[in-house]
């Protein structure tokens, strides 16, 4: 059984068909790319997968479990985490606290235990600190643990957002244009990071990307979206050589 299975997904915004009969099948451990021209509906698909938008119709199954009708936080608890096209960090919290918010549902103690500093507070905070530092060190962010998130350079903010998403221990990680605004060196580093995530965390990753170098470099399978519909899908090399796809990207 595939980890993520999407069928016949569709949504309209005031008469505009943004996504139509969308389908997707991602096997566990796969690095999957979702590409397509601007305005094709890629981010809308992400928003449908994470419950930000409610689809008009369709089925989303994660590990066989129905995701449609669940709220964003329930979907996160079920195992889908994401990053955003325009970075969304908790700017006035430290880098470590950003990750600790991600750990929120895995290290629990009540508000009263926190206010009265009961033993469980110290135990859980210590465990959270250790886990957060462990995650941060994977991404070389451990030296900046006490920096305010907003003070990080751009590339590190992207990494922190990924770290925070991973802290929620997802089964599936959605990355929305992780290389946007990066220079070639940073993109190169990011590719290595994404591979590292897949190998080290045994993660399944679905990413939206425009940078063709990144897509062809790391994605094993691809789905091409055009005008809200699936134009092509399959092995990355096959899809990228598909004349339809080339036409959609470059024009006639």
């Amino acid at each position: 059984m595939a980890l993520l299975e999407v069928n016949n997904l569709g949504i309209s915004f005031g008469g505009l068909r943004a996504v139509n009969e969308f389908h997707l099948k991602i096997e566990k451990g796969c690095l999957y790319g979702l590409i397509g021209p601007n305005g094709a509906g890629k981010t809308t698909v992400f928003n449908l997968l994470t419950g930000v938008y409610k689809p008009d119709e369709g089925v989303i199954l994660l590990d066989g479990e129905k995701m449609i009708g669940k709220k964003t936080i329930e979907i996160n608890k079920a195992g889908i985490a994401r990053t955003f096209q325009n970075i969304r960090l908790f700017n006035d919290l430290s880098v470590k606290d950003n990750v600790k918010v991600g750990l929120h549902n895995h290290f629990k103690y009540s508000a009263l235990e926190g206010i009265f500093r009961l033993p469980k507070y110290f135990k859980m905070e210590k465990a959270m600190d250790e886990r957060a530092m462990e995650l941060l060190s994977v991404f070389d962010l451990d030296k900046e643990a006490d920096t305010l998130a907003s003070n990080l350079p751009y590339g590190k903010q992207r990494k922190l957002e990924i770290t925070r998403a991973l802290a929620t221990e997802p089964k599936l990680l959605l990355l929305d244009e992780p290389a946007a605004g990066m220079n070639p060196n940073e993109t190169q580093e990011l590719m290595e990071t994404i591979r590292l995530i897949r190998d080290k965390f045994d993660m399944t990753i679905l990413l939206i990307e425009h940078d063709m170098k990144l897509v062809s470099g790391i994605c094993e399978e691809l789905t091409v979206l055009n005008f809200g519909e699936v134009l092509a899908e399959g092995k990355a090399s096959d899809v990228l050589n598909n004349p339809e796809v080339i036409k959609a990207y470059i024009g006639e």
């Binding site: 964003t72 996160n76 926190g114 500093r117 507070y121 006490d146």
Partner: protein, 355 residues
């Protein structure tokens, strides 16, 4: 090792705040006992404690949760009236002032906290500045209700009315407890400066510890980016409601202090109306949004400032207003901030040259 350092910095910050309040308390006590404080200023000490608690609790809503509330005085009003009602009824039943006051505190805080939940449940689901408007409305409604509420008690039990005291139809042994616009007269004056300061400590303890905990991080994550918080599984409504109801309950505590310091508790615009809510908000913003210690300092300065300016008589409030606007411009205008930073950098360089 680094973790320890961070931990220390956090606790050190909190300790400074506690210590500051304690030193201020000592200084005031010494000044009072040596007779160096005017009776007017002495009369301000207990209300000052209430204002500090209000400012700290409102900062939890405005600075930590990131929602604007314009009706904080309404929650204070609820705490004041419920607790004064309780104390007046129980004055003979529970003769030990300490026990009675403790119960009054619990009742005042609980009543205000419940109002916070009632206001918060429908409103906090909405996005935007609705909390500001609804809390403003709530504050005015509470004030209005307190002005038309008459409650009396006699051997037959409690009597209610919304018209006047006579409509209560009390027996001869009856007494009026809440007398409409005249409010509650004869609440035991159990609040003292020392009790007020202890309650400031309790408030600081609750708020600071809440902020530096799992729940506090969740609350601040909503403030910083609601959509991202949702995406990592933070229950928005739960934590918004938690912050807001704790904030309301603490405002209720301030109300208890305030009510038990007055011979005659009335719900007037100046003590429980919109003006009061705004004054507390002013403390929070001038002290620094999200800066708990700043709220304490701003509440102290702004409460004492008009008294210190008293020598200027008629011009007192005018000067207060001008100073106020100037402080806001100096603190918040981007140009003023840039100028300050430039100046600070110059000073630093100058010092380095000297070395």
């Amino acid at each position: 090792m680094k973790n320890m350092k961070k931990m220390n910095k956090m606790t050190r910050d909190n300790l400074i705040t506690y210590l500051m309040v304690f030193v201020l308390f000592l200084v005031m006590q010494i000044l009072v006992s040596s007779g160096n404080v005017s009776s007017l200023l002495q009369g301000l000490l207990v209300p000052l404690c209430a204002y500090i608690i209000l400012a700290v609790s409102l900062n939890l809503t405005v600075g930590i949760l990131g929602e604007l509330s314009l009706g904080h005085a309404g929650f204070m009003c609820v705490g004041a009236f419920t607790s004064a009602f309780f104390s007046k009824c129980m004055v003979n039943t529970i003769p030990i002032a300490g026990v009675r006051y403790f119960l009054a505190l619990l009742i005042g805080a609980a009543a205000a906290g419940i109002c916070g939940i009632l206001v918060g449940i429908p409103v906090l689901r909405l996005k935007g500045d609705y909390l500001a408007i609804v809390t403003l409305a709530f504050g005015e409604i509470i004030k209005n209700i307190m002005n038309i509420l008459f409650i009396g008690r006699d051997s037959a039990g409690f009597h209610f009315s919304t018209t006047d005291a006579r409509a209560l139809g009390l027996l001869e042994d009856g007494e009026i407890i809440i007398n409409g616009p005249q409010g509650i007269t004869g609440t035991p004056k159990d609040s003292t400066f020392a009790v007020g300061v202890i309650l400031i400590f309790v408030t600081l303890f609750i708020v600071l510890n809440l902020i530096h905990s799992r729940s506090g991080r969740a609350i601040m994550s909503i403030r910083d980016n609601r959509i991202a918080a949702e995406s990592v599984g933070i229950n928005i409504t739960k934590y918004k409601l938690m912050a807001f109801s704790v904030s309301a309950a603490l405002a209720g505590v301030a109300g208890v202090i305030y009510a038990h310091n007055l011979a005659n508790l009335m719900a007037q615009p100046k003590n429980f109306g919109y003006n009061m809510s705004i004054m507390i908000l002013v403390f929070v913003v001038l002290g620094g949004i999200g800066n708990i210690r700043g709220s304490v300092i701003a509440a102290i300065i702004l409460t004492l400032l008009p008294e210190l300016l008293r020598g200027l008589n008629d011009y007192r409030m005018l000067i207060y207003a001008v100073v106020f606007i100037a402080m806001m411009l100096f603190n918040w205008s981007p140009k003023a901030i840039a100028w300050r930073e430039k100046y600070a950098a110059k000073l630093k360089r100058g010092k380095k040259k000297e070395v």
